[in-house]
């Protein structure tokens, strides 16, 4: 699947218009990326309300920092980079509140979409297996699979080359298959 961002960044024009002072362009960027940013943040911050707060913070930072956006990466990569930084910062500030939330989250939530997974138990097992991945592999896998980023964008966010992103993705998938044994097609 060829991604649009590899050919032309569809957000570039919006970013330029916003830099030129058009506030409506920023609102459009928010509408376009709020869901993606929220989902990314939500993987770090384990409470919906907190994820919404952090998402709001991400866009406020983007609003203030648009002058520093150089255009070397896509607008989406730039926003997701801010999202990762804000999430990690939030986690540092709320360190004591997190472990219980993670444990609860891994077992209870995430209702299963019919026909996609055999059961909620499988879903929970798979999520638990993802948490066991080395940080780099986990980041690459999540950005690729859940955020649907190109390997080029993944590499930008993971601070590595595109080739390294591809290799990390391979080992993440392989390790998940090892962890889950034969129950997931391994």
């Amino acid at each position: 699947m060829e991604r649009v961002s590899d050919v032309l960044d569809p957000d570039r024009e919006l970013a330029e218009r916003f830099r030129a002072g058009e506030r409506a362009a920023f609102d459009q960027l928010v509408r376009r990326h709020q869901q993606g940013v929220w989902r990314l943040v939500r993987r770090y911050v384990k409470r919906d309300a907190d994820a919404a707060d952090v998402t709001q913070l991400v866009f406020v930072r983007a609003f203030k920092g648009i002058g520093g956006f150089r255009g070397t990466a896509s607008v989406r990569s730039w926003l997701y980079r801010i999202a990762i930084n804000c999430s990690l910062s939030w986690l540092r500030d709320h360190r004591r509140e997190q472990p219980a939330e993670i444990a609860e989250d891994a077992i209870v939530e995430a209702p299963v979409a019919p026909g996609k997974l055999a059961s909620g138990e499988d879903s929970a097992r798979l999520r638990a297996a993802i948490t066991q991945l080395p940080p780099k592999q986990k980041l690459v896998l999540e950005l690729r699979v859940f955020d649907d980023l190109s390997f080029k964008e993944v590499a930008e966010l993971a601070d590595c080359t595109e080739n390294t992103a591809k290799v990390n993705f391979h080992y993440a998938v392989k390790k998940l298959r090892d962890i889950l044994g034969g129950s997931h097609g391994g």
């Binding site: 869901q35 998402t55 995430a110 299963v112 290799v167 998938v173 998940l176």
Partner: protein, 190 residues
């Protein structure tokens, strides 16, 4: 980092278009040996996972973001951009105007210099100085030259004829007369 062929398998399965032609060719040469089906199945399971959490009310979130952005203090360069930029434009325009007006004006004559007028003095009020005798310090004594015979003043100085004769000019003197004159001057100095 050069990847082994099998290290690119997951990328090949999930996004063949993102591999270079060379990478694709290498993988495709080994597909029989690699577990393509198992890898594809794992990736499909991952992609089928529903997103975590319950999504918020997006309109409400947009409104919150808009309000937060409006309330947020603008960065310093935006706060100062309008006033400083305006000031620069105004000063620049003023300088331009002054320069243009200066160029348009014809060359003016220099301002007249104020001349001081000498005060009018009543001649009758100024006392006339008395004539003083002309005195010279000559040979250790004061000599009043006003009344003296000019010839007598130099009698004892053995002045050469060339000096004594005031009708001669230097151009008319011959070498001998000049030599005599030099010697006399040297003697006078010593």
């Amino acid at each position: 980092m050069a990847a082994n062929d099998d290290e690119l398998l997951a990328a090949y399965v999930d996004g063949v278009a993102e591999l270079t032609p060379e990478e694709r060719k290498r993988i495709e040469g080994r597909l029989d040996e690699l577990d393509v089906a198992g890898t594809r199945d794992m990736i499909q399971q991952l992609r089928a996972l529903p997103p975590e959490g319950t999504e918020p009310d997006w309109r409400a979130l947009q409104a919150r973001i808009a309000k937060a952005v409006d309330d947020a203090p603008r960065p310093w360069w935006r706060r100062w951009f309008v006033p400083v930029g305006g000031l620069v434009v105004i000063v620049g325009a003023a300088l331009l105007l002054v320069t243009m007006r200066h160029d348009d004006q014809p060359a003016r004559a220099p301002a007249p210099i104020a001349t001081a007028k000498a005060p009018v003095i009543d001649a009758a009020a100024v006392p006339v100085p008395q004539a003083q005798p002309t005195e010279l310090w000559l040979d250790g004594q004061i000599v009043d030259v006003g009344d003296a015979d000019p010839e007598a003043l130099f009698d004892d100085l053995d002045v050469p004829d060339a000096v004594a004769d005031d009708t001669l000019t230097v151009d008319e003197l011959d070498d001998k007369a000049l030599d005599n004159l030099d010697r006399w001057l040297e003697r006078k100095k010593s």
